[in-house]
Amino acid sequence: MLKQLTAALALMASPLVAQDFSEGSEARSWNLYAEVPAKFEATVVDLLCTFTGDCPADCGAGKRQLGLLRTADDTLILPMKNSQPAFTGAAVELQPFCNQTITVDGLMIDDPELGANNVYLVQTIVPPGSGDKIKANKWTKNWAAEHPEAKGKGPWFRRDPGVKAIIAEEGYLGLGLEVDGAWIAENF
């Protein structure tokens, strides 16, 4: 009896065992050194709202950074990346589910030494009340709709007006056109 009581008390006093969110994940590997598959239920939150109390009803229309408040342990996850290998973030993918609870599948990047804690690449989303998962790959389509003037060949990042304007002024290295030209001539 005493043994059982001791065991029960020890269990209550011990820290919670970290949950394994990789179970059931169908995330595709990106061959990243610190990637860990993770599938979990979470509420989409506006991070500025969470911290400052400034809360537009649409979570910032895809222009603010969003968070995923995980249901299982109340951990706030930062979704940094969508599923496209194209320098594209996750806010546009998650914003339609502002303040809703969804299920996401993707890759956690776990490198505490570098400071990468609870940062995430979203690959798929299951909306509330639905069994159908959707791919988190709408960013480039959204960009094309917002920038009809930039229509053309090649990836979006070569055609983005804001990026092109800065490179035209500061160069690829960002140090001015003179430095850029000399370095390119010497190295290519």
Binding site: L48, G53, D54, M80, G89, L114, L173, G174
Partner: protein, 143 residues
Amino acid sequence: MSLPLAGHAAEGTRIQVTGEIIDTWCYYSGVMGSPDAVVGSAHHTCALWCSAGGIPVGLLAEDGTVYMVLKVGEDDQTAGGDTALKLAAHTVEADGMLYERDGLNYLVVSDVVSDLDITNQNHDDYGNVPPFSIPKSARPQGD
């Protein structure tokens, strides 16, 4: 047009911090190389792409701490907005509120006290990262 809702503010700490505005995905994921290679002039163009693409920008402080930037001055559009884009790879002195949650540091910058431009000129050490960030059309031999 959406109406603002009342929210509950968390407790933050006012800080002044100096560091480089970085592309946090390349920095954390290692997808383009080591952390030292995905900052500064070597990574300027890629930092522009990631910022314009809505990937969170961070402030990499001199002690190695990364602060996730959620707002710069009056501009809350840190997922692809113009203010963050113009600061890509620049070293800035920032004054703002720090919120710590679940192992990450979130920074609401109230004021960029000074913009020191790009101070980390590391392109001679690492080249341009990734190599395709300077397109063939910009090279002497062209396409």
